[in-house]
Symmetry: C2
Subunit: 172 residues, 2 copies
Amino acid sequence: MDIEKRSGCPINLTMEVLGDRWSLVVIRDMMFGNRRHFRELLSKSVEGIASNILAARLKRLVSLGLISKCDDPSHSQKTIYSLTEPAIQLVPVLAMIGSWGRQHLPVSEALSIRAQLLEEGGQQMWDHFMDDLRQIHIEDPVGGASGRRTSPVLAQLTEAFERVRRGSPDSR
Amino acid sequence: MDIEKRSGCPINLTMEVLGDRWSLVVIRDMMFGNRRHFRELLSKSVEGIASNILAARLKRLVSLGLISKCDDPSHSQKTIYSLTEPAIQLVPVLAMIGSWGRQHLPVSEALSIRAQLLEEGGQQMWDHFMDDLRQIHIEDPVGGASGRRTSPVLAQLTEAFERVRRGSPDSR
């Protein structure tokens, strides 16, 4: 793993891996948006990630073992990106970060409804969500990327997001 | 707040506030090491933070409302830095990050014993710890910085750290 390892503290090491503003945002888009191709991650980014930054972050996350790559059988030029087990286990971390952000920062309603549902759902929902993510990222990444394999928890979160977004002018 | 606000997503906003590798490490040292003066934060840093980076991060965290400053009555030249309520509420986030790091990254034994205890203690321990931190950072920052006011949870974590460190050659 190409991290600096300035100390063996778990908080420091996690920040060396994920503390660059974009890495966790890319993982978030793969996890909650099921964006599995470079083009989707680029064009649907609400934060407007730049193409070179996205490419560098994906490469780094692959080298760190948080993302895996495979060919897309339906598009010979395309690569499918999937979350690995360590990245899937970030669900509780992202849920806690989402709760904190929702409480202390100027979040938008549409973009925080999923954080609210994850907070309310607690550990039981996180466990279900992680099981779902294992199905669509690890066991069947091709089916998961194409939408043939779906996740009930993800569908629930996405439906809530779309509902709030339709009713709210402020989706950024 | 001087953050970019590239989107209103709670995960993105939290990373804009804390996703710079050093900010959370400074908060960690104030929270778990009760380091409340610039000199301590600088000289005891196991990651070897540079003086100018520490100064910039402290200033930024004060401007973001995560750290407060007050004069130290026993040293006219010194400033006491304290965590604010939003920073204290990062305890569950830091606990989750610590758990994840401990499981997936090459942590050292001494520097991960506190993360282990926080993980095992769960929400109840986090609540006690946050109450303790409110005492020594918000209600009585001067007494908390001088050690006249102490935190039982912090004492327990520190004692475990010192015990493991004495028994382990690898404390970085």
